[in-house]
């Protein structure tokens, strides 16, 4: 495999690696150590001028002062252009791991404070405690106030660190600690115990939800803190020697650039992993690109280490499967392709290559079919997927013979949710109601308006489209585009004088066998009423 990597190197320095890790965090270094232990060549690109820890020294290629310029290629064969100091490197790797540290900044402004001698951020406090630089805190009658999550809840991992710091301070001779918090998620692992320990150690807690204390710096550097206490309804005053502020954990500044260059999805905060359960724990929308630790969210130190071990397993498994069978092929008929780039824009997996021709990168393609349904020229075909008019007509032929009096229902369902639920029904000895034809599709996004209309054209009385729940789509946007396409199909039905209720969109998960049947039965009931409007009156 090392030879394969050599081939891609074009820069001054010839480097051999199978996996590129971005970041020099503790998490990144642990991933590097894990992979090297498994005989995998690793290159680690640090943004700044840091140097490796001893566990990986001399075993990995360590590039400091780097900046990713361009990422080209696909799972198993990524080519990276990296600025390295004044040089440019080109590296070819099989997999990429983004494991940059998060960025931590003290919340001075949340407490209307400015950085100062007697105002300490949480990370600074931890450094001081780690290096036993606590003598400045001890002394007779030293009062330290810890400020945690007033106007914005502190992340549970931050709150826990505040509590841990508080406990250590309280243990110093002559120190009294006061913990002033907003709403705190004590239900998160270990928090309640820490609160309890701190209270036992003598920390005094105050909680605020609406009105917050005012903190006035005094001339001697101390602080006067005035606050109305919500539970006792008394006004209190405290003079503090030190104030410790919590911090906000955000994506590192340069993560944005990496995300952009690598073409991976972000979550709502800006971390390099979308809010999608299918991405857990370390996957991205792109095959072969993984994300870990402080790059994918706010993780505690222990969680980051666990994440490093998990992503190492994921990478090893990915490398082991590289020579395996590719997924069902998606092909672009060149004669029909107008190079409109709709497919490039739609593909959540970055599997469309724009070259002299537009082609599908088999190694990156996840066979969701979002491009096939979106292609205005119908130039893209998926092997083994038949959901067009003919398929439905064949099915309808069967329906027509067997169930003349029943409404004809066509159900399209994603193989990851409705498909699984359908299997669940079958293995538990149940069957779908009579007159229902189920068409399993690779993804909700495989369905175009023409497929839905085709089902009506073939004689269906009702069409149900089953997609995955929000933030549950393997292809990120499959359920979103499916919903959009179905809704615009409804408009078409309305303009043709067909009741829009005949097309229903539902979302399911994989374990909803009974609910799947229930939803179909309810749909049939409504379609029967639409077919026989008088029936309701007669019965009523």
């Amino acid at each position: 495999m090392e030879n394969k990597a050599e081939n891609g190197v074009r820069g001054k320095e010839s480097l051999s690696a199978e996996v590129m890790i971005f970041g020099d965090s503790v998490c990144a270094q642990r991933i590097a150590a894990n992979l090297v232990d498994n005989g995998i060549g690793v290159c680690l690109a640090a943004g700044n001028g840091s140097s490796p820890a001893s566990i990986i020294q001399d075993r990995v290629q360590w590039l400091s002062d780097t900046r990713l310029n361009h990422c080209h290629g696909f799972a198993g064969n990524f080519t990276l252009q990296i600025d390295h100091g004044h040089n440019q490197l080109k590296k070819t790797v099989q997999a990429i791991v983004v494991a940059e540290d998060d960025s931590r900044s003290p919340n001075y402004s949340q407490y209307r404070l400015t950085p100062g001698l007697r105002v300490v951020g949480l990370s600074d406090l931890e450094e001081k405690l780690k290096h036993s630089m606590t003598e400045s805190f001890s002394g007779t009658d030293t009062r330290i106030v810890l400020l945690c999550g007033w106007r914005k809840d502190a992340h549970p991992s931050v709150a826990r660190r505040m509590l841990e710091g508080c406990l250590q301070l309280q243990a110093q001779p002559g120190v009294s600690t006061y913990f002033m918090t907003g709403n705190m998620k004590v239900a998160s692992a270990g928090s309640e115990e820490l609160v309890h320990k701190a209270k036992q150690a003598g920390t005094v807690f105050f909680k605020f939800t609406g009105v917050f204390p005012t903190i006035q710096p005094q001339e001697n550097g101390y602080f006067t803190i005035d606050y109305p206490d919500e539970s006792t309804r008394n006004t209190f005053q405290l003079t503090a020697d030190w104030v410790v502020v919590d911090e906000t954990i955000e994506p590192a500044n340069h993560l944005e650039l990496l995300i952009q260059k690598l073409g991976i999805d972000q979550d709502h905060i800006g971390f390099a992993q979308s809010d999608n359960v299918r991405r857990l724990s370390n996957f991205t929308n792109r095959r072969g690109i993984f994300v870990a630790g402080g790059s994918r969210g706010v993780l505690s130190h222990a969680e980051q280490l666990a994440d490093a071990d998990q992503v190492s397993l994921n990478v090893l498994s990915f490398l082991g499967d590289l020579d395996g069978e590719p997924l069902a092929g998606v092909t672009i008929k060149q004669g029909l392709c107008a190079r409109c780039l709709t497919c490039v824009r739609l593909c959540p997996h970055r599997a469309i290559e724009v070259g002299s021709r537009i082609t599908v990168i088999t190694e990156a393609c996840q066979s969701c079919g979002i491009c096939t349904a979106g292609c205005p020229g119908r130039a893209i075909e998926m092997e083994g997927v038949h959901i067009g008019l003919e398929t439905i007509q064949r099915m309808n032929h069967l329906l027509a013979i067997t169930f003349v009096e029943k409404p004809r229902i066509v159900v399209f369902g994603c193989m990851r949710s409705a498909g699984q639920s359908h299997t669940l029904i079958q293995v538990s000895g149940q069957a779908l109601p009579e007159g229902v034809g189920f068409v399993e599709i690779p993804c909700g996004g495989t369905i175009a308006g023409r497929h839905l209309l085709g089902a009506f054209e073939a004689g269906a009385d009702g069409v149900m489209l089953c997609i995955c729940h929000t933030d549950n789509c393997q292809s990120e946007i499959g359920n979103v585009v499916a919903r959009k396409r179905a809704e615009s199909t409804r408009d078409l039905l309305a303009s043709a004088g067909v009741e829009t209720e005949r097309l229903r969109i539902v979302s399911l998960s994989a374990n909803m066998g009974n609910e799947f049947v229930y939803r179909i039965k309810a749909f049939i009931k409504d379609i029967v009423l639409l077919n026989n409007p008088q029936k309701e009156n007669k019965n009523g």
Partner: protein, 234 residues
């Protein structure tokens, strides 16, 4: 409480009560207790406020307030507390810290009378016996209860029963159902002529010592009259 002047937290001693076993420091200030308390709002009282003040070392203020005496001891606060704080016991403890003469009137007088005379009313022994015998005579006039007498100080009886002071004061009619049942059941029972009081207001004032004295007197009656079984309706 004076709301104008800020309270200097550093002058308080939050450690003062950390040896108490009521878990008041576990309070998360969720206010479940305040939301279920039937007297929350009276004199600005609510259980959370009391718990928090104790936890902050403001015990004196709580002891001096009317709050612990507004509480009806219903215990709903304690049932709803997610942290298992023993709020009722804490309230009793606070009540116990009030100096005797400052305990609210009737409780303080009744308890003092009980400790001195054996019952909350200071009812003399001869009056007590007179009332019992008078009610006994009325019962004996009822059909089927001819010849009924009240067994007082009967040595070796099977059951000793105590009397709530109101039954020999304003509610004498309420004595009769008990006695009818004893008679119908052929029960061998008796009432002590001294220290017959069944209530002990030390429960309400948080005075455990007084409770011990009152209970000890009942035990002493059982020893004196050689009775094994106590019927203690209070």
């Amino acid at each position: 409480m004076a709301e104008n002047q800020p309270i200097h937290i550093e002058a308080l001693n939050p450690d003062c009560c950390n040896q108490w076993l009521y878990q008041q420091d576990a309070c998360l200030t969720c206010a479940m207790c305040a939301s279920v308390c039937p007297v929350a709002g009276v004199d600005n009282y609510d259980p959370r406020k009391m718990v928090r003040m104790v936890s902050l070392g403001m015990v004196d203020q709580v002891v001096q307030s009317r709050w612990p005496w507004i509480c009806t001891m219903c215990g709903k606060c304690e049932q709803s507390c997610p942290m298992g704080i023993d709020i009722s016991d804490l309230t009793r403890k606070i009540r116990s810290l009030r100096e005797g003469k400052h305990v609210p009137g009737i409780l303080s007088k009744g308890l003092a009378a009980a400790l001195e005379t054996g019952n909350n009313l200071s009812l003399p022994k001869e009056d007590f016996i007179f009332i019992l015998e008078d009610v006994g005579d009325e019962v004996a006039e009822e059909p089927g209860l001819e010849g009924f007498t009240v067994p007082i100080d009967k040595k070796g009886a099977r059951i000793l029963t105590t009397i709530h002071n109101k039954l020999v004061n304003t509610h004498t009619e309420d004595l009769k159902p008990w006695w009818r049942i004893f008679h119908a059941a052929g029960e061998d029972w008796t009432i002590a002529s001294d220290n017959w009081e069944g209530t002990t207001w030390g429960y309400f004032t948080g005075d455990d010592e007084a409770m011990k004295v009152m209970a000890g007197r009942i035990v002493e009656n059982m020893r004196r009259l050689e009775i094994d079984t106590l019927l203690w309706p209070e």
